[in-house]
């Protein structure tokens, strides 16, 4: 009987995913209300529970366990992008226009700044060849920019793995940290959300972090974040790599 039930759940993975996420949400909202007295938003707790569940799996988090494979479809990039686009219904075009310049500057500062800090850490901790430094710097942008840069520059697979890890660390810190620092960095309006999306750039982290802070801000952050990885993939293996090459010889 257990086999039959499991089979049904695996075969209808996406639907089982709806049920699972619904249960996570229900428990998280209850926990938020009853235990934390609404001090920690239910969404933030649910996202933390999600990250905790991911520990039970490997590369694809909990979706590596066949029973929960449907979570990969529900939480995959197709539905993520589709639903994030739909959130634009709540966005105000005037506010976006108004923040356009700040958002564009934030994108460049975000990519170059992340690359810089990642590169400095790489250099300080013992990587002295331009390819490794640039790849780890690119990984500090997002976990997609890292391996693309590493691949283009012919970095070692160990360094590429580190660059992916750096990007994932960024996504997770953004997810957990955004609601905690939101007040201090005045992240409470569409204008600063546009800037935030451009500076941080990890679409998953920005969407999750803003969702846990204030869901109304999501479309504004997502709008700029969507340009970040592309910009990073353009700048890191080219101009930024050459700058590193000149600096370290």
């Amino acid at each position: 009987m257990i086999d039959t039930i499991t089979q049904v759940l695996v075969k209808n993975g996406l639907i089982f995913g709806f049920l699972l996420v619904g249960c996570i949400m229900l428990l998280s909202v209850w926990f938020s209300n009853a235990i934390t007295k609404k001090k920690i938003p239910g969404v933030a707790i649910a996202i933390l529970v999600g990250l905790g569940l991911a520990l039970f799996g490997g590369k694809k988090g909990i979706a590596d366990i066949p029973l929960f494979s449907g979570m990969a479809l529900l939480g995959g990039s197709m539905l993520r992008d589709f639903t994030v686009v739909a959130t634009a219904m709540g966005a105000d075009l005037d506010k976006i226009k108004h923040a356009g310049l700040a958002g564009t500057i934030a994108l460049f500062v975000g990519v170059i700044g992340s690359f810089f800090f990642g590169a400095v850490v790489a250099y300080t901790l013992g990587y002295h060849d331009a390819e490794s430094i640039a790849t780890i710097g690119a990984g500090a942008c997002t976990y997609i920019v890292g391996p693309i840069t590493g691949g283009a520059l012919g970095a070692s697979s160990e360094v590429i793995a580190i660059s992916i890890a750096a990007g994932v660390v960024k996504t997770i810190i953004t997810t957990i940290g955004t609601p905690l620092v939101a007040k201090a960095i005045k992240l409470d309006n569409p204008h600063s959300a546009v800037v935030f999306g451009g500076l941080i750039g990890t679409t998953s982290g920005v969407a999750a972090g803003l969702a846990a802070t204030d869901p109304k801000l999501v479309p504004y952050g997502a709008l700029t974040a969507t340009f970040y990885t592309g910009l990073g993939c353009l700048l890191c293996p080219s101009i930024l790599y050459f700058l590193v090459k000149i600096l370290v010889g």
Binding site: L79, A161, G230
Partner: protein, 124 residues
């Protein structure tokens, strides 16, 4: 009908994604640059145009709103499918690189948010 709204959303999404990929091709990067952003702008402009001309009914809009509301569950599922082990196994280099880059980003939010604000102030 609900499906009209969902279909309209799908149309905006796909046009945005195609534009993002074409931009990627033009710039010599095999991927999507800003596809979601283009799609969002097309959706906002398209929906307000349809609404102004009475070409979209409330049930159709509800079809879009459904997906808009579904994004938090999707984000939770996404969190559950992250490669958390990779983050923990990358060692100090990965941890510090990711941490400093994120902290710097956080720190700069209030600084760069000043751009384009207070347009009445000539000194800004």
């Amino acid at each position: 009908m609900t499906i009209y709204g969902v279909a309209f959303l799908a149309f905006c999404f796909l046009v945005g994604k195609i534009l993002g990929n074409l931009l990627g091709d033009v710039l010599g990067f095999n991927g999507d640059i800003g596809g979601v952003g283009f799609a969002m702008i097309i959706l906002i402009l398209g929906h307000s145009y349809l609404q102004r001309n009475d070409m979209i009914e409330a049930p159709s809009t509800k079809g879009i709103m459904f997906w808009s509301n579904m994004y938090i569950p999707v984000i939770i599922a996404m969190a559950a499918t992250q490669n958390v082990h990779a983050a923990l196994s990358g060692g100090w280099v990965a941890l510090l690189a990711g941490l400093t880059a994120t902290a710097a980003g956080f720190y700069l939010v209030p600084v760069l948010s000043k751009i384009g604000r207070a347009p009445t102030n000539p000194n800004a």
